[in-house]
């Protein structure tokens, strides 16, 4: 039995996961908690949020995120990719900056109109 705190939402449910019996999750208040419990013990993933350079805008950094979770082990590699990105204003919330970043299936998207 493994004990985890769910990070899907700010509720932070205390999950018990039976890792010997098909990762059955208890203590979760929603279905997403059950999925998190299983994924976290088999293939942990995170949504990456960061910033990239932007020129001709009111500020120097433009916030971005991956539009889906990527493997935890690829977070730092993805940060290196972001170092080489430079946007030019105007950009819109939801604009795709990088398609399928590092082959994860997730896109890097802009999160603020600038």
């Amino acid at each position: 039995m493994k004990h985890l705190i769910c990070i899907v939402c700010p509720n932070g449910c205390h999950l018990d996961i039976d890792d010997e019996n098909g990762f059955k999750v208890t203590g979760n208040r929603c279905q997403r908690g059950a999925e998190y419990g299983k994924t976290e013990l088999t293939n942990p993933t995170r949504v990456l949020t960061s910033t990239v350079k932007i020129s001709s805008a009111s500020h120097r950094r433009c916030p971005v995120k991956t539009d889906g979770p990527i493997p935890k082990g690829k977070l730092f590699e993805a940060m290196d990719v972001l170092d080489n990105v430079e946007l030019k204003s105007p950009v819109k919330r939801g604009d795709v900056v990088i398609n399928n970043i590092l082959g994860t299936g997730a896109n890097l998207i802009v999160t603020k109109d600038m």
Partner: protein, 424 residues
């Protein structure tokens, strides 16, 4: 003097939601005043995700959450005045402000919504011994430098305090290439959300020292290191427990203070526990027609609750303008919410049962950690209702919904909420 139905002070999440809701409830002339050059408030620098799960039923980043409300505000006729600082509110709801375009001027508001948010406690507020070099920042200031302005704040970082912003910054600094040595918390429990301990500290193997504090900062021009000591149950450092950290930067995440200079000057009654205005069930302060919501009222953990509270305040402000009555201040029955054992504060502090439709939400924080718990609502020594709860912590705001019929059972004009541990 220009007249408005509703003047909202602040265009962060609280102000945006209050203005939109005032419009939906029939207020026609609405002015939103913001001192920054863009709306959105603190959400602009909170680039991480986790916002909007309650309200939008999806996980958004701070800028996305703010962006959606900015879009909503654009669809109303509300006027958004940026780069404008409010200087004074009078008790007859005249609001004086200034900006570089129009100078200093005053408008008359039918109703006012205070949505000024909060600010961070600094080194001065907690008095850390040692020298005064550069490299000591509040976590929010560091967040602004890194996420908006594009400056890195340091290479080897120690974080004092375990508030959510400090935890979020531990992860952010690590991703940006800094080494976060530790997060140090004076209290025996973490002040941030559990999920942030997991995804910001545990994910990156950053140690969390509970019941510890910084007892000396070293460095002449720049921070060169800091000594951390364990504290006893009276929060006094224990000699012999010192650890030295070789760091060049110290971030402080040691609490937030509602920003109520305007409210105090207006003569609005402030609750010393929340450091925000004392409010009734509709978020009305001690001055009729002046409402308050969001972090200026009490510090929230979740923006979704700021939105809900502000919608409530915005709707009440619109309602107040429509009726054009000064209310029956003092003559109406009023129930005082009393904090029983292990309850730190309640919002609202007062409830006027006649103004309740079906039920009223009461928000509060507990004073310590509970594993299996119960929230008891009593009045005049009689138990009115009990709510079973599981885990509760001071870092996580709680709320209960009191049905209207329950309020009629209040004896002596007071209702007490208390928390207690329940044996499994």
């Amino acid at each position: 003097m220009k007249n408005y139905d509703v003047v909202v002070i602040g265009a962060g999440p609280a102000g945006l939601a209050a203005a939109c809701e005032a419009y939906q409830n029939g207020a026609q002339k609405i002015l939103v005043v913001e001192r920054d050059k863009e709306p959105g408030g603190i959400l602009n620098q909170c680039i991480h995700n986790g916002f909007g799960l309650h309200y939008f039923k999806e996980e958004l980043t701070g800028p996305e959450y703010a962006g959606r409300f900015e879009d909503m505000l654009k669809k109303t006729d509300a006027e958004l005045m940026l780069d404008t600082m409010v200087l004074q509110i009078s008790n007859d709801r005249q609001v004086t402000m200034m900006n570089p375009r129009q100078g200093c001027f005053t408008v008359q508001a039918g109703a006012v919504v205070l949505a000024m948010g909060c600010r961070e406690r600094t080194r001065g507020a907690i008095g850390i011994p040692g020298t005064r070099p550069s490299g000591i920042l509040t976590a929010g200031a560091a967040q602004r430098y890194i996420n908006v302005e594009g400056y890195m704040v340091g290479k080897r970082v120690l974080i004092l305090g375990s508030g959510d912003i400090g935890l979020i910054m531990a992860r952010r600094l690590t991703l940006e290439g800094a080494k976060v040595l530790a997060c140090v918390e004076l209290m025996p429990y973490c002040n941030g959300l559990n999920r942030n301990i997991v995804q910001c500290l545990n994910d990156y193997n950053i140690p969390l020292y509970l019941s510890h504090t910084i007892t000396e900062i070293k460095g002449k021009r720049r921070v060169e290191g800091a000594t951390v000591s364990e504290v006893d149950e009276n929060r006094k450092p224990i000699p012999g427990t010192e650890k030295y950290f070789d760091c060049d930067t110290i971030l402080l995440s040691v609490g937030l203070i509602p920003e109520n200079e305007l409210s105090r000057n207006a003569g609005i009654k402030i609750d010393p526990r929340t450091k925000g205005p004392v409010v009734y069930e509709n978020m009305e302060t001690s001055i009729p027609g002046v409402f308050a919501s969001g972090n200026v009222l009490h510090v929230h953990d979740l923006v979704d609750f700021v939105t809900a509270e502000s919608q409530h305040a915005g709707a009440a402000a619109a309602e107040y303008c429509k009726q054009k009555t000064e209310g029956k201040a003092g003559s109406e029955p009023c129930i005082k919410m009393v904090c029983g054992s292990d309850i730190g504060y309640t919002v609202p502090q007062y409830i006027r049962p006649e103004r309740i439709d079906k039920s009223v939400d009461v928000f509060f924080r507990v004073r310590r950690n509970f594993s299996t718990s119960s929230l008891d609502v009593t009045s005049g020594g009689q138990k009115l209702i009990s709510y079973p709860r599981g885990h509760m912590a001071p870092g996580e705001m709680e709320h209960i919904t009191l049905p209207k019929q329950l309020l009629s059972k209040a004896a002596g004009g007071a209702i007490t909420i208390s928390a207690k541990e329940v044996q499994k």
